[in-house]
Amino acid sequence: MRIFQMQRVSAIALLVFLTIHMIVVHYPPFHIDFNRILVRMNQPLWKGIDIAFLFFVLIHALTGAYMVLTDVERFNKYQRVLAGLAILIGIMAFIYGAQTILAFSAPVSVNAMVR
């Protein structure tokens, strides 16, 4: 039941974050390169939004993958192992993603260009 609720809560959060992400980053489609994304990734507010987005997307993805796998009879008996694996992957991916977002700072030359 807890996993089911985590799925629902993260899904509702994702509706907000994904809509923002798709509109701001991907629509209309254009050629994306380093210079395009650094303006956004350099701002503290966007760093916060991206970390929250990462948090909810990982919860949704990993609880979803766990539910898909445990639906298969063969994997059902490994529920605890799969849950542990999902938590481990989630923590590792969150640290990797959050560290990427937090550590990002635009090169000095580009900073001057952006201002």
Binding site: Y27, F34, A61, P107
Partner: protein, 115 residues
């Protein structure tokens, strides 16, 4: 049973969900190179900016849109007393998804054809 809207939506939701989990980790891998500098980032990004991947973005859009709207349908069915409208809701979200995928897919297709 296999022709019921409930079964079709269950299969499509699972299928798109698994595809999106795989995409999520690929996406994180690409964005993760942003702190290694413009050359490293653009080099990794170029791997997924081939015409094939640009066209695959339409499939990605379809998966995201369908998965999101089917999720909204599930939340509506779960939290509101609309069980008798289950089928109609499924057809409605399918139609909305199709319209959005066409509307969003055309610019992606044009962008992909530009090369």
């Amino acid at each position: 049973m296999y022709k019921s809207t409930g079964f079709i939506s269950f299969v499509l939701r699972r299928f798109t969900g698994v595809a999106l989990v795989l995409y999520l980790f690929t996406h994180m891998w690409v964005i993760g190179s942003v702190n290694s500098g413009p050359e490293a980032f653009d080099a990794r990004l170029n791997l997924v900016q081939t015409p094939f991947f640009k066209l695959a973005e339409i499939a990605l859009l379809a998966a995201v849109v369908y998965h999101a709207f089917d999720g909204i349908r599930l939340i509506i069915v779960h939290y509101f007393d609309v069980t008798e409208y289950r089928k109609s809701l499924f057809y409605a979200i399918f139609a909305i998804s199709a319209i959005l995928v066409i509307a969003g897919g055309i610019p992606i297709l044009l962008f992909a054809l530009e090369g």
